[in-house]
Amino acid sequence: MGTTSTVEIRRPQRWDQPFDPDMLERDVQWLSSLPPFSEMDKSAFPANTPLDGVLRNDCRIRKVQPGEVIVREGDYGNSAFLVLAGSVRVVLGQLPPQSLGRATAKQKSWFSAISALWKQPQFPEVRTVDQITPGGSSRVQQHGDTASIFLQDFDGVVTHERTLQIGPGEMFGEVAAMYRAPRTATVVADSHATLVEVRWQGLRLLRRDRVLAQQLEQNYRTNWLMIHLRETPLFRFLPENCLQKVADATLLRSFGRLEWHSDYRRTRKLKPVEQIESEPLVAMEGHLPTDLLLIRSGFARVCSRYGEGHRTLAYLGKGHMFGLREIVHNTYRDSNQAPVTLQESLRAVGFVDTLHIPIEVVAEYVLPYIRRTELPDPISRDDQQARARHDIASQVPTGMLEFIVQERLNNGRQAMVIDLNACTRCDDCVKACATTHDGNPRFTRSGPANDGIQFTQACMHCADPVCMIGCPTGAISRHSETGTVSVHENICIGCGTCAASCPYENIQMRTMRDPKGRMYFDESAGLPIMKATKCDLCQSQPSGPACQNACPHDALVRIDLGNLEDLSDWISRRR
């Protein structure tokens, strides 16, 4: 049934879409005449990605005004900034969300939650003007062709908060950009300043310059590495000097493309075996372990060869380790025994950032401080542990495991999962969602299904919420404690960037109406006011997610799909 005809298309090129299409040749010239670019070693860049190309395609020049918010704490990092002229201020304390333009949903009292029942508007998406325009101490202002948030009370902030001034030649936001982490501080323009914003793709290329690379790595090592290591439960009893030795020896590596969401639609259509083979190999089964691997961000697939393909056994996320079992076995084995090789392979699903700790360092500075009971058992021929691990996977059938990774559902921290064998399709869950959102349901009961389990299309509040990338006003953000990803409608300008970026199509752009049902129109452009809408996990409701609360048949659950054991538990209780 094969066909021999071909369709010829142009292979997409890197830099097909420059960061700033308006970047001119003279801007590039100007940038390359300024440090640090003027001091960079041009020969370190390969011919197909020259330094000029990076400046032209991965950078944009931004002029900011005093009080303009450049990055907000909690924003999703996607680019780094270099100050060219003027200065900016990093606010070290936490600013109240309102001053960043974000209206946080207040927890409703029982009475006000119930009273919403008889106050249901007659029209869809009804808002008062205050709900959809910035209020209080911030304002959204068109600045050039972008919308920016301005701190109204900038002087007050500078006076009352601890701040740090950053001047020409200094960089900020690079760690968040490189490791797709939320910004840890808010940065506001101190004066009229000129910045160059480098998207992460460019930043990775710029690391070809040895000096810059060293500086970036040094920054990471000083500010973050110890924190990441300390967060690892297995290292909790390590004395500080050992942890420091581990940190010194640790190698930082990345695999795959951070832009996984743009490849996702294409790769999910591949056959599982092809998809797995297209994933960058982090460690290969059958090779001797050389490092203990720690996942810093992203997801990795643990798989082993099976027949002509690969069988997925598990996937690992932030904080998980790979290779420990083999390292422990080899360290404590009898001297007459041969060392074992890696029992499984590890592959990057999308992208993954890893920390590699050499085995000698693990043996000397880590293993002595871990209780033997916490260490994995030695590997034996009828490998108990492999079976135990396989048991976890067997509650989640292999097909489903492959399916979850193929659809990138492992990204969901609060995924909506429905057991179709228990779901009577009564839609009480949808009705409950509508009841708690003024008559506007935030999901429809549809979505990909596998083996009688449906992964419903409702915002999953992802571990890597790519919807947050590129939101110009920071209107879509993640709550630092609960992890809930929510849209702050008062500053959402309705550009639809988030809806276009969500790989699961879980954001809808909706037109807003006043209580009389009249559509709001933008006074200057004359276009309807649109806002991004999605599941907010009923964060203002006393009940928590109403969908889960309302299902009469115990068919629906909000679950962290990044943690296979949760899913496995849930499935085993039902079968």
């Binding site: 409703k108 029982w110 939650a113 119930i114 919403a116 029942l117 179709l420 064998n421 228990a422 779901c423 009577t424 399709r425 009564c426 839609d427 009480d428 009705k431 409950a432 009841t435 708690t436 429809t444 009961r445 549809s446 299904a449 009688g452 449906q454 009923c538 409701q541 006393p542 009940s543 928590g544 109403a546 889960q548 609360n549 309302a550 299902c551 009469p552 048949h553 115990d554 068919a555 538990d569 085993s572 209780r573 039902r574």
Partner: protein, 272 residues
């Protein structure tokens, strides 16, 4: 969290113990020549009151007062308990006289529709999952139209390639109506695949009269017939799952009215 089966066993055991206690209490009252029917009557009334709570809870989804699934389980087992108490309360399963017999019938139909609900919820959900496709209730009309449009396009397409009266006639006489109408009430009540099989057989029998391009079109029509049958099966099952609830609620309302009158009469005659 316990396994579903374990939870069911625990809940059934608790219900059985409650019924046993009620039965012993009734027997003791009777032994002492007391009015056992008063005790069972009030217990029954209290149970009906508890059964009502589920409806209220479903309205107040925004409150953190145990998830609806817990209330549903409570409702089911309280319902079973109430049925047992009813049997202790009444002298005969269906009382005599217009009023009392209607009340008995109403009670039994509420209980029966409840039990049917439990059964169809479990079985229907599994059957729906087993039959291909996943359809939302509000979209059935759209799906039917899409299938009908595709069928008509297929016939028009082959019509353009030459003289194809056989398939066009078959479409007009046998398929057009099938695709353009909703399934009948009989189908909704007892969905069977007779009609699908008949149509497929008839279409198969015409196969020898078709040219090869028409054969292909006939194959696509056959797929649409199967598709439509699956859709109808989903529709019938979902509709029945929704209808039983509507009927259960309507019967409950009627029963409540009769219960109120019954209680008032009992109080009146007891006082007399």
């Amino acid at each position: 969290m316990l396994h579903k089966r374990t939870r069911r066993t625990i809940a059934l055991s608790i219900t059985a113990i409650a019924v046993l206690i009620a039965a012993v209490a009734t027997w003791l009252i009777r032994q002492r020549l007391g009015h056992a029917s008063m005790a069972t009557g009030w217990t029954l009334l209290a149970s009906v009151g508890l059964l009502m709570l589920l409806g209220l809870r479903k309205k107040l989804v925004m409150l953190p007062i145990l998830p609806v699934r817990v209330w549903t389980q409570f409702h089911i087992y309280t319902g079973l308990f109430a049925l047992a108490i009813y049997l202790m309360h009444v002298p005969v399963v269906i009382a005599s006289g217009f009023f009392e017999s209607t009340l008995s019938l109403l009670f039994l139909s509420v209980a029966g529709s409840g039990l049917y609900g439990v059964w169809i919820s479990r079985r229907g959900a599994k059957r729906l999952t087993a039959i291909a496709g996943e359809y939302r209730f509000d979209r059935f009309g759209w799906h039917r139209r899409t299938i009908a449009d595709r069928a008509s396009e297929i016939v028009t397409e082959v019509g353009q390639t030459g003289d194809v009266p056989v398939i066009a006639k078959f479409y007009r006489e046998r398929l057009q109506h099938y695709f353009s109408t909703r399934p009948s009430l009989a189908y909704v009540l007892v969905p069977t695949s007779h009609r699908k099989r008949r149509l497929l057989t008839e279409l198969g029998e015409l196969d020898r009269y078709f040219a090869s391009n028409v054969k292909q079109a006939a194959g696509r029509l056959a797929a649409l017939i199967r598709n439509r049958d699956d859709l109808d099966y989903h529709y019938a099952t979902q509709l029945r799952m929704r209808m039983w609830l509507a009927i259960h609620i309507a019967l409950t309302v009627a029963m409540l009215v009769f219960i109120v009158v019954h209680v008032l009469m009992v109080l009146r005659f007891q006082g007399a």
